[in-house]
């Protein structure tokens, strides 16, 4: 669109078209640009709202395929459930998680935190390509 705009301006500068005609052409060009942008489907990164599903796709070099689609409301319900685990059991879970490198206190997970976590999952995408050709992709949409 930038090229066309420059061309119109150069036509005006050369006197081949009047300033008024140039202005009309520029208006028409802008209107066309807006229509084109509206017709395009929203890109994954540009879309808004909370994602609905988590997708896990595994494609192995041997031809095995695994596709899993999980409703994020299930993840949300599971996370809420962790807040209701009895304190004694929660201590053990937290200890085990810390031993495995995940130092998260599940008892401190609040409703707002869960919502924020789910919302920010839209931006998450995990792509793993192994040497032998296996591919793992995790994303939310």
């Amino acid at each position: 669109m930038g090229e066309e705009r420059t061309r119109i301006l150069s036509l005006v500068a050369e006197g081949k078209i009047t300033a008024e005609e140039g202005s009309r052409l520029l208006d028409a060009l802008e209107a066309h640009g807006t229509q084109t942008a509206a017709a395009e489907p929203p890109t994954r990164t540009g879309s808004t709202g909370a994602p609905k599903f988590m997708y896990v796709k595994v494609v192995s070099a041997e031809g095995d395929n695994v596709n899993v689609k999980i409703p994020l409301s299930l993840v949300r319900a599971g996370l809420k459930l962790t807040a209701l685990i009895p304190p004694q059991a929660m201590e053990q879970i937290n200890k085990q998680m810390a031993d495995h490198g995940m130092a998260i206190d599940l008892a401190n997970l609040k409703h707002e935190d869960i919502e924020e976590l789910i919302e920010s999952l839209r931006e998450m995408e995990i792509n793993v390509d192994s040497k032998n050709g296996d591919n793992v992709r995790v994303y939310c949409a």
Partner: protein, 93 residues
């Protein structure tokens, strides 16, 4: 809270062109689920009340309700596994 899953759809396709399609009407189990859920909530509420009276409050009732909530949210889950000899597709509606 949504309704629990109504149908589980299972497609299995073997290498020799053999296909199995199972349509499991889980909704027929809803009355039993309701009964079991009601019973579990009643027991949990009783345990909560007793523990509260003993000065050790717990939230077992909320935990049972949370489990039920998680169960209902399984709607929309889809698992597709394919290898050289078999394809399995499970959908929860």
């Amino acid at each position: 809270m949504n309704a629990p899953p109504a149908v589980v759809d299972v497609h299995v396709a073997g290498a020799g062109g053999r296909r199995v399609h199972l349509w499991l009407p889980v909704f027929v189990l809803w009355p039993f689920l309701l009964l079991a859920g009601g019973l579990a909530i009643a027991v949990a509420a009783l345990v909560d009340a007793v523990l509260f009276a003993m000065g050790r409050p717990h939230r077992f009732t909320a935990f049972v309700l949370g489990c039920f909530d998680a169960l209902t949210e399984t709607r929309g889950t889809q698992v597709f596994v394919e290898n050289e000899s078999r394809t399995v597709d499970v959908r929860v509606w």
